[in-house]
Symmetry: C2
Subunit: 265 residues, 2 copies
DNA sequence: CGGTAGATTGAGAGTCCTCAAGCTCTGTGG
DNA sequence: CCACAGAGCTTGAGGACTCTCAATCTACCG
């Protein structure tokens, strides 16, 4: 039954397979992400400006806190490698994962602007981050309007992801929710070049999935299992493979969007 | 029982009471909203720029479509008066309201940037809107970085509202959801000056509430009724009054945030 | 006065949740 | 090399929360 289990030491496995360097390179020109198809090219001067703006490079271990839920403000990050998630929780401990963050995602805009909105960011795997000072934004908008535009682009995209997750939590049933999560994460990962051999390193455990979908752990387990037995997907050795993507798309009522290249700050 | 009903011709009632002009004034200097406490002041030149950018002023009737769900891109708006909502739906008709829009909210950023994200915007009451051309954004960012910054602020705030709604739909039970919606909308309305005499014109019907909370119409009705019988709130003649706000806050596990003044584009 | 929109209510059926154990795999210490 | 503990996955059972179906009722409109 070992091949039937989910997430058994996904960390280790994915670390073995993960092709990305675990630290963000010293110079942005060498950034692995920028060489990927998924990201829009920037001018040399913009790149230099971003690098100058960058305040540091950080690694945080799996499960570590990137932004504490109760401390607003603080720093801004670009996720360079690894998976993370944004979440909010109620005072009795119930937790809702708002969105998963993949390489290239910008972190901290909400806390920066919104009125002390309390939402935390936690690392799923070990992550590598580029750090920016909180007050560097004004400069960015002033000196490189295009980058400001890009930042708004990123904010709007992040919101549209949360929109989708809200539709999922509010109006899809358990089966549809799980199917949606699988196909949606797969597509996002694919976009940033994480898919290899028709599969992607999948570091989430069932509690993550439950918290993202607004389901209980037990029911998430039973639903995942049902979908797997139907031959729709497979999670093995910490990697996700969509065995029958069309069926997943149909169940989830998922729409593939035309994807523009994302800006990268 | 008439005083027990909800939303009986809310439109008419709110039209009688609503103090705002039903059309956005010709010049932004005369904008009612800007005179309110809730919004941040801007420089004269910025104001002039915004007015120049403005492409028109529109009114749309209650129930009318501001942005069609299937047509991305298009125009940008600032909601000047009235209530609206953003929504997404599944192909079988299930609908999720993502967020309600109140005066001062900026509309269309998501569709502008995100990859053809399909989400519609519909008027709840008759609404007055300022219209901006879709390609005017680049100019805005280039010529007035501060306004670009404000736009990102608005995008981030809108997202944090959706975050909150996702927490609600995903992790609160029906009673908590309804309490949350009532207190949250009341506070937002209060912020833009819509509260008078301890009550606010409340144009939503129970279907709106159900679609926003991810509940069925029937269960929404029963939950609302229970809260009313407990003396927590009152919806009468199309106006909402929080009879026991502290209890609502406790039930919903709601946190009042320190509110900065919002920018207004 | 019939027709429509919206609010209410009751009843029965389901989906999803909680509780309670097991099970597997991994890492650790003796 | 084995026992033990911990994290994460599975399963079964009973119950709670929500949903769907079906009517009824009120207010308002032409």
């Amino acid at each position: 039954m070992s091949k039937d289990t989910i997430g058994s030491s996904p960390m280790v496995t994915s670390a073995l397979i993960e092709p990305e360097p675990s630290v963000c390179p010293r110079h942005c020109v060498d950034c692995h992400l920028r060489q990927s198809d998924g990201f829009a090219p920037v001018s040399a001067s913009e790149l230099a400006f971003v690098e100058a703006l960058r305040n540091g490079r950080v690694r945080i271990k799996a499960g570590g806190e990137i932004i504490a839920e109760q401390k607003p403000g603080g720093k801004l990050f670009t996720l360079y490698a690894g998976w993370a998630f944004r979440y909010k929780s109620l005072s009795d401990g119930r937790r809702q994962i708002l969105n998963f963050l993949l390489p290239g995602d910008f972190i901290g805009l909400q806390g920066q602007f919104a009125d002390g909105a309390t939402h935390g960011v936690e690392a799923v795997t070990e992550v590598a981050l580029c750090v920016f000072a909180r007050d560097s934004l004004r400069d960015l908008f002033r000196e490189y309007p295009n980058l400001g535009y890009d930042l708004t682009w990123l904010a709007a995209r992040e919101e549209s992801l949360v929109d989708e997750n809200l539709l999922t939590a509010g109006r899809r049933n358990a089966t549809e929710r799980v199917a949606m999560l699988l196909i949606h994460l797969y597509r996002r990962a694919q976009r940033v070049g994480l898919v290899q051999d028709d599969s992607v390193a999948f570091p989430l455990n069932q509690q993550h999935i439950a918290d993202a979908l607004g389901l209980s752990l037990v029911h998430t387990n039973k639903t995942l299992r049902r979908l797997r037995k139907l031959g729709l997907h497979q999670i093995e050795d910490g990697r996700l493979r969509l065995v029958n993507p069309k069926a997943l798309v149909r169940i989830a009522d998922y729409y593939d969007r035309p994807l523009r290249r994302a800006p990268l700050i």
